[in-house]
C-alpha cells in the first residue's frame, strides 16, 4: 500500500498543471473553483484559496499589478474552459485589499496593486539588502535598488517603483534613510543611515 501511495503522489506531481514555470494546485481544475459560491462557509473557504493562489503566483512571477479587465493567467483555465466573472475577480481581490495584501489603484476598481510583501516587509527587505552589501551610510539611486547588479536574484529585483518609494518613505519616517529629490524621477537618490 505504501508503495502504491508513493507512486500515486509521484504521478500527480508529474501531471501538475503549469502556467509558465508556475505550478498550479490541483483544485485549479475543479470547476466550482471558478464560480463564486453563494453559501457563506463555502465562499469563505473559496476566497481563502484564491487569496493564497494569487499571492503565490504574483510573488513567483513578480507581478505587482492585476488589471481586472485584462487577461490574467490565473483567472482563466482553458483545460476545463472556465473563466472567473468580473464580480468574482473583484470579490477575491477585495478580500486581499481588506487584509492589507492589496490596494485598489483607481476608484473604479479596475487595477489592483498586489502586496505579496507588505510595505513594512519591503522596508525590512531593503534594510537587509543594505546591510548585506555594506551600503550603510552610502548613497544609491532608486533605479540602482530596482535593477542594479547587487539586487539581482533578490526579492528587490524588478520591484514596482511605487511600492519601493513607499517602503523608502517609511524608512525615512523612521530616520533610517533620506531621500534626495533630483530634477527628474531617474536621479532620485537615497542615503541610508543604519
Amino acid at each position: 500500500m505504501v508503495g502504491y501511495r508513493h507512486h500515486q503522489r509521484k504521478k500527480t506531481g508529474d501531471e501538475m498543471q503549469k502556467v509558465g514555470d508556475f505550478k498550479l494546485p490541483h483544485f485549479f481544475n475543479y470547476p466550482p473553483y471558478f464560480t463564486l459560491q453563494p453559501v457563506r462557509d463555502t465562499r469563505e473557504k473559496q476566497v481563502q484559496l484564491w487569496k493564497e493562489l494569487i499571492l503565490d503566483y504574483c510573488r513567483s512571477q513578480k507581478i505587482f499589478i492585476i488589471g481586472l479587465d485584462e487577461d490574467f493567467p490565473l483567472f482563466t483555465n482553458p483545460v476545463i474552459e472556465r473563466t472567473l466573472s468580473h464580480e468574482a475577480r473583484e470579490v477575491f481581490l477585495s478580500a486581499l485589499v481588506s487584509e492589507g495584501r492589496a490596494e485598489w489603484i483607481d476608484k473604479g476598481h479596475k487595477k489592483c496593486l498586489i502586496l505579496w510583501l507588505r510595505i513594512q516587509d519591503w522596508a525590512d527587505c531593503i534594510l537587509n539588502f543594505v546591510k548585506e552589501n555594506g551600503f550603510e551610510d552610502g548613497v544609491m539611486t532608486v533605479e540602482e535598488i530596482r535593477s542594479g547588479i547587487e539586487s539581482r536574484g533578490t526579492e528587490l529585483a524588478g520591484i514596482d517603483r511605487t511600492v519601493l518609494m513607499r517602503a523608502l518613505r517609511l524608512l525615512e519616517q523612521k530616520g533610517k534613510a533620506t531621500i534626495f529629490k533630483g530634477t527628474s524621477a531617474d536621479d532620485e537618490g537615497v542615503k541610508f543611515s543604519a
Binding site: R5, Q8, R9, K11, T12, E15, M16, K23, P25, H26, F27, N29, Y30, P31, P32, F34, T35, Q37, P38, V39, D41, T42, K45, Q46, Q48, L49, E52, L53, D56, E81, R82
Partner: protein, 432 residues
Amino acid sequence: MAGKWLPSVHLTGSGRPVFLPGEVESFLLSSVDLESEENPTLPPFKSGLLILTTHRFIWIDESNGYGVAIPLASVVHAFPPKKSIKSMFSSPRVRIQINGHGLGVGFGSTVMITLVLRGKNDPEAFFGRVWDAMRSRAWENEAEKPGPSDSKAGGGGGDALSSGIRMAGVSGILRKEQEMWESTDKSLQEAFQDLNALMSKAKEMVTLAEKMRQKLLSGPTQAAGPNDEEMGSKQEMQDWLLSVGIVSPVTKESAGALYHQQLARQLADFVKVPLERAGGMIALIDVYCLFNRARGTELISPEDLLQACALWEKFDVPVMLRKFDSGVMVIQNKAHSDEEVFARLKTLVLKPDALRKGISPSDAAMTLGIAPALAKEHLLTAESKGLLCRDISPEGFRFYINLFQDVDPNDIYTVKDHGLFSSWFSAITASG
C-alpha cells in the same frame, strides 16, 4: 360503547367522514349537541361538528376522532327552532322526530332527538337546508340508480330530484304542511327554488365531469401518440385523477367559517396518494391542479389552498407545508427527511462521472424520481448545508461535491491520501 346510542360513522385519517355514494354535504355547524329529551339516561353527544348531507346528519367529535350519523331516511319530521322570549336567552334547538326502527338500535317506534346549536350560526338557514335535504330525498335516487354513469340515460337527474316529492302517507301530509309554511314568503321561496335548481344541476355537472374523465382515460390508448414519454405522464396524471375522485367537495357555501378547516382535512386525505407517488414531496402548484381537477366543480382558489395548508399545523395530519428559501412551496410527508435525500444525492455526486462533470438538476430528478424543479430545490438545500457547491458555465448550472473544506489553505498543493479531495483527484486523473 354504551354511550354511543346512535350508529357510528367511519372517519378518514384526518377526521373527515367517509361519504356514501352520491352523498353531498350541504351545511356545516360547529358546537352542536345531540340529546334525547325523552330518555335522559342516554348520555348526550356534546359539542361536536354537525354536517348535514343529502343523506344524513353526521355528528363528529373532532378531538376524539369519532362520529355518529342519523340517516335522513329515518327522519319523520323536523321541527323548526322555537321563536319565543325564552329561546332568545338559550341556544337555538332543532328537534327531529325519528323512526326508531330505522336506527336499528332498539328504540321505540319514534324517537325525538334535539340538536342544540351552541355555536354562532344561523339556525334558520340550517333548518331551511334540512327541509331541502329531506324534500329532495337524494338517498332514494341513489338506491334506484344502478350506477352514476346511467344518470343521463335515466332521463335527466334534475327532473328525478323534483319529482321525488310524494303526496302519500304521513310524510305526504307533513310535506303539505311544510309547503304552507314556505308559502308565507313567496319571493323567498322562489329564490330558494332557483338555488335548488342550480344545486341539482351541479350534481349533473359532476357526473358529466366524471364521464369526461373516463373518456380521457380511454382516449390515448387507442390513438398512437408521437411522444411516448408525454403519453406516459398523461396516463399517470389520469391514473391519479381516477384514483382520487372527490364525491363531496367542501364548499364555502356549505362550510361557512369552518370552510378552511374542513378543506384542510379533506386536502390531507387527498394528497396521500399523489404524495406517495411523488416520493414524499410534491409541489404546491401540482397539488392545486390535481385537487381542483378531482373536485370537478366547486373549484378552490390558490389562496384557499394556502390557508388550508397553513391550518395543518393545528391538526394531527401526516402532511405539512414547506417553503424553500427560493420561495417554492411544497407539500411533504412529515416522515419525509432531508437527510435521506442528502444521502442519495451524495451517493450520486460521488460517482466517478459526477466527480468529473458534476450533476444537473435533471440528473438528480431522475435518480430521486421527482420533478426537476423540486430536484433543484433539494440540490440548493444540500448546497446551503455545505454538501454541494455550484458550477455555472455556458454548459449550464451543475453541482459538485464540496471539496473546498477538504483543502488545507496553508498547503494548497498537497493532495491528502484519503478523503473527498483524493477521490475527486483520482477520478479526474483516471479520465486522462
